[in-house]
């Protein structure tokens, strides 16, 4: 297979692969939304004046932070039904594999948000503004990491980018294209993640200048 053929082949499959990548982003966004909501709840618990609420929040956060997403994904797929029966003759709530992948990823997000937000909430309200902006940037960076982690949803059968790469490789029937299909997918992740973190860096510089703050620094998660 020569270079031109490879390009033509990849071009032909691009819309299909793009559909897969949209799944990655959708899974990540849902995970981010769920995780942030739960993380916010936990951070509020940790700031509570009652001791056992605060302890409960801390313990739950430690657990969420340390549950391995990859295994938890399997756990949810095998242990949760395909649809959740609801009371009062409501229709069943479907639990497709992608939602289970999102749930698994949301765990880490919840731990991250709980940790960062509880630190901020401990401060007096007047000093929170800078930290909240900083959290927003960190949160953006975390999204990039979640997008990369969403690729593991392929092993539970979600039709995201890597899963669709496997389909493309199988459809060819030969292994010639394997390397190129995977490299192509890698290129997509790289471009998306680089531009997203570039955008975040740009925002952080902009904020730095506007708010006259010291270096907001790079975020590590």
């Amino acid at each position: 297979m020569n270079g031109l053929e490879i390009v033509r082949h990849l071009y032909a499959w691009t819309p299909y692969l793009l559909g897969g990548f949209l799944w990655n982003i959708a899974i990540s966004l849902v995970a981010l939304a769920m995780g942030t909501a739960v993380g916010h709840g936990l951070a509020s618990m940790r700031g509570a004046t009652r001791g056992h609420w605060a302890n409960g929040g801390r313990l739950a956060t430690a657990l969420l932070r340390n549950v391995p997403t990859f295994v938890f994904q399997f756990y949810l797929v095998f242990m949760l039904p395909e649809a959740l029966p609801l009371p009062f003759s409501l229709p069943n709530l479907p639990l497709p594999a992608w939602l289970k992948a999102s749930l698994a990823l949301a765990l880490a997000v919840a731990g991250f948000v709980s940790d960062n937000l509880s630190r901020i909430l401990a401060k007096p309200p007047s000093e929170r503004r800078r930290d909240l902006l900083l959290l927003l940037l960190n949160w953006g960076n975390y999204f990039v990491i979640i997008v990369m982690a969403s690729s593991t949803a392929s092993v539970i059968g979600v039709p995201e980018l890597i899963s669709r790469c496997n389909t493309v490789v199988n459809a060819g029937g030969t292994t010639d294209m394997m390397l190129w299909v995977y490299l192509y997918a890698m290129g997509w992740f790289f471009l998306f993640c680089c531009s997203a973190s570039g955008l975040i860096r740009y925002c952080s510089r902009h904020l730095e200048r506007r708010l006259g703050m010291a270096d907001l620094g790079q975020t590590e998660v």
Partner: protein
């Protein structure tokens, strides 16, 4: 006939009762036709065997409308050993046990899976003589290697197969259900699904036909169910059961079944190969290991393990089976010797992966930071670019590129095989190591801002690492959490081992809870060790 003496005494007492008794005797004797059936067969001089006529090559009609096949040959051998004539009766899946009860046949040899439900209806003779499972018939160009590759994929099946649900749940298959095998095979041919999920012996029969001969069964059969010869329920523990059992044992020992398998063009069955070894095994005294014990039973190791109860065994196995019988919690990875070994191996593999990935990430992080900060700017920039690619692409994809993309090219050109274990360690270490480099790079920039001209040699780098120890620890915990990715490329770590135990026993909840508990404890353990190291480092710096 155990009931006979009391009936006889009744007969002697009163003539009227004798009539009633005679009627009852006839009624009772009909279904109990089997009692002393071996004697009846010998007197009659004919053995009547129920065989299939619609299941090639096990039981079918020849072009001259004569019954023949693998099981027909077994029936003939059984009759020859008894020294009687053979007469076969065609039976179907629905009536093959019924005909035993109403006395139309003496023995049924008709692709009958050995299950608990059927043991209630008839006497299923041990040892089992063959075994079938669920296989996938795939197109000639298929390159499937593992069942797990089918997760989320469309697979064809036919209505009413008992294994549809189990297989769909275990391998997360998207089943496309057809009314019959013909339609399902057409769907496979037209690439509407990855393959047809069906009994492996039936598919093996199809593959013998000219139309499907280049199609394949690539994956090892799952949900293996041994096949048993059946006799009437009333014959349990009787002479006929003993004779048939001894005959099947002889077939295993003498390779009769293996020879028939070759004769009928069946693919080699691992079950038959295992059984031949097992039934020829001898103890220290030179006697067969599998020989009848005082109670007439075979030893536990020679029996169908599904039907071994806690009362049959001792020690750990007894405890495990009793727990299973009482609570439904099946801890096979504790009481089953083979699975315990696999499970422990899986734990060792997981610990080795975790240790290698954490250490590898740390070393690679320091090495990359050293290269980026200590070499001429051009090299530094190149190192930073490479690290950026490693940091901004999913490790799973890196693993696929190296193992399948580069790996298959290398294998084709130089015949070298990459080790999946080390590829996983390399990719995860590269992903995390480049993240660590990034942290150190930023720390170095901070340090240079406050102390221009600071020399960042190795101790300097370690000092920087100490300053950002919280981020470093978080990254290392993350890589420990990610090591289970290795199961995606068939490294036999704990997740892989657990999914294969689930595939064997279906103890989903037990295995999944065990797995979660183990991994959460492992991650807390890693966190604990890293924090100890961190505080020791802080202490030394202070």
């Amino acid at each position: 006939m155990k009931a006979a003496p009391s009936w006889v005494s009744l007969l002697r007492r009163t003539p009227r009762r004798a009539w009633a008794a005679a009627c009852c005797l006839v009624l009772v004797a009909l279904p109990a036709y089997g009692s002393g059936q071996l004697e009846a067969i010998r007197q009659r001089g004919v053995l009547v065997v129920g065989v299939k006529t619609d299941y090639p090559p096990f039981g079918m009609l020849s072009s001259a409308a004569v019954q023949e096949g693998f099981e027909h040959d077994l029936a003939a051998d059984l009759a020859a050993r008894l020294g009687v004539q053979l007469r076969t009766v065609g039976v179907s899946s629905t009536n093959r046990l019924q005909v035993l009860d109403d006395g139309r046949v003496d023995v049924t040899i008709a692709t009958l899976g050995d299950t608990a439900e059927r043991r209630q209806i008839a006497t299923l003779v041990e040892p089992d003589y063959y075994s079938s499972g669920v296989a996938l018939m795939t197109r000639p160009d298929s390159n499937l290697q593992h069942w797990s590759e089918l997760r989320g994929q469309t697979v064809c099946a036919i209505q009413g197969s008992y294994f549809n649900r189990t297989m769909a749940l275990r391998y997360l298959l998207n089943l496309q259900i057809y009314a019959n095998g013909r339609d399902a095979k057409m769907a496979v041919r037209d690439a509407r699904c990855r393959g047809w999920l069906f009994d492996n012996t039936a598919i093996a029969g199809d593959l013998l036909s000219p139309e499907w001969h280049d199609y394949q069964i690539r994956l090892p059969p799952e949900l293996m169910t041994p096949w048993a010869i059946a006799i009437a329920r009333s014959e349990r523990g009787g002479a006929l059961e003993r004779l048939v059992g001894d005959t099947v044992a002889q077939w295993h020992r003498q390779g009769t079944l293996l020879a028939l398998e070759r004769k009928w063009g069946l693919p080699p069955s691992p079950f038959l190969a295992q059984m031949q070894v097992l039934w020829n095994e001898k103890d220290a005294d030179g006697r067969y290991l599998c020989r009848r014990q005082a109670d007439g039973q075979w030893p536990v190791v020679c029996r169908n393990q599904i039907f071994v109860m806690s009362a049959d065994v001792v020690g750990l196995r007894r405890w495990g089976l009793r727990l299973y019988e009482k609570t439904g919690i099946n801890l096979t990875y504790i009481y089953d010797d083979y699975e315990r070994r696999e499970f422990l191996h899986g734990i060792a593999m997981t610990l080795a992966l975790t240790f290698s990935c954490v250490t590898g990430s740390l070393l690679l992080g320091i090495a990359l930071a050293w290269l980026a900060l200590r070499t001429p700017p051009a090299i530094g920039a190149a190192v930073r670019s490479v690290a950026l690619v490693m940091r901004m692409t999913p490790p799973l994809l890196q693993i696929y590129v190296l193992l399948f993309g580069v790996g298959s090219a290398v294998a084709a050109r130089w015949g070298l095989q990459f080790s999946a274990f080390w590829i996983v360690v390399l990719c995860l270490s590269a992903y995390t190591g480049s993240g660590l480099m990034h942290i150190l790079d930023n720390e170095a920039r901070e340090a240079w801002r406050s102390t221009p001209g600071l020399v960042l040699d190795l101790p300097g780098l370690l000092h920087l690492m100490g300053r950002s120890s919280a981020s470093v620890t978080a990254s290392l915990v993350n890589v420990a959490k990610a090591t289970m990715i290795a199961s995606a490329v068939a490294v036999p770590e704990l997740l892989s081992v657990s999914t294969s135990i689930i595939a064997e026993h279906g103890n989903v909840a037990t295995m999944m809870n065990t797995l979660m508990l183990f991994f959460v404890l492992l991650i807390f353990g890693v966190l604990h060790v890293l924090r100890r190291l961190q505080s020791r480092g802080d202490h030394e710096r202070a």
